[in-house]
């Protein structure tokens, strides 16, 4: 009966790949009031007034602003909430 031979322990390498974060973007539109955009950003993200106001101004002046960055599932939830307040919002992968 043959003796079992010793096998070399295979080397295991664990590589953790973190998912790329996603940006939530609010886009400008000519109708929505600036005060409404500020109110919605403040309410949904819990930002203070001035931070929300700055983001609204960026939307107004640049046409768009990143209002949040993070995991895809949360980004989807935030875009959904922004849509429920009729803001033009999209999400983009930062790795795209």
């Amino acid at each position: 009966m043959a003796k079992p031979g010793l096998l070399e322990q295979p080397e295991t390498v664990t590589e953790t790949r973190l998912a790329k974060p996603w940006n939530v973007i609010v886009h400008n539109d000519p109708i929505t009031l600036m005060s409404y955009v500020t109110m919605v950003i403040q309410k949904l993200f819990g930002y203070d007034f001035m931070k929300a106001y700055r983001m609204m101004m960026e939307v107004h002046n640049a046409g768009r602003a990143i209002v949040w960055t993070g995991a895809r599932e949360e980004a989807e939830l935030y875009v959904q909430k922004l849509h429920s307040h009729q803001l033009r919002a999209t999400m983009e992968s930062t790795g795209a």
Binding site: I31, T32, M39, K43, F45, F49, R54, K81, H83, R88
Partner: protein, 200 residues
């Protein structure tokens, strides 16, 4: 001459009175502007997508759009309920003006409903930034000009309700809100990485 007035009741409800008849017509248009049957350009604006990915669009239409439809329907119901008590004032000196009472619980619905109505008008008439210039007074009014005037009138009411329901913090009142002039280091323009819970 009518000078609209907003009065806040003890429970937070508001009364809008001294509303001019021209304003009355616009408010009576709200149920139609919030109705579910709308042309494609309105539906595209009110029910957008989150990405350009076709698969994701299908999922968004399946899972998110029904909720958005329901929210607009709910705002419409609230607006219609309050418009039921919308009536002219008989007492002098403001007889001929109209009075509207909005229950405090209905104010978010009104703010949302007014926004939807304004967006509906904007999408129907393809209104752009240049059309919204405040000093624009047409010599001859066409349908688009009337829609722009309606959008501004509804904005006036929406702004009143926003200021009443979600006032600017006292420390910012009367302050120059130009972000470039803000010395506060806590107002970093970078967005927070950690979301705070939605208070809703």
């Amino acid at each position: 001459m009518f000078s609209p007035r907003l009065t806040r009741l003890e429970d937070g409800s508001v009364i809008l009175d001294r509303l001019a008849p021209a304003f009355v017509h616009v408010l009576h248009e709200l149920p139609a502007l919030l109705a579910p049957e709308q042309p494609d350009e309105v539906r595209d604006r009110l029910y957008p997508h989150a990405t350009d990915d076709e698969e994701h669009k299908k999922e968004w239409e399946r899972f998110v759009h029904p909720e958005l439809f329901a929210l607009v329907a709910s705002a419409r119901e609230i607006v219609m309920r309050d418009l039921g008590s919308f009536r002219p004032v008989d007492d002098p000196p403001h007889e001929g003006s109209w009075r509207l009472e909005i229950n405090v619980k209905h104010i978010p619905g009104w703010i949302s409903g007014l926004n939807v109505a304004r967006l509906t008008l904007g999408a129907r008439h393809e209104i752009e930034d240049i059309d919204m210039a405040e000093d624009f007074i047409p010599e001859e009014w066409d349908e688009k000009d009337v829609a722009i005037a309606q959008i501004h009138l509804l904005a006036w009411l929406q702004q009143l309700l926003i200021e009443d329901h979600h006032p600017m913090p006292e420390e910012f009142l009367g302050r120059d809100t130009d972000p470039e002039s803000d010395p506060d280091p806590d107002t970093d323009p970078e967005p927070d990485r950690k979301p705070k819970p939605d208070p809703e």
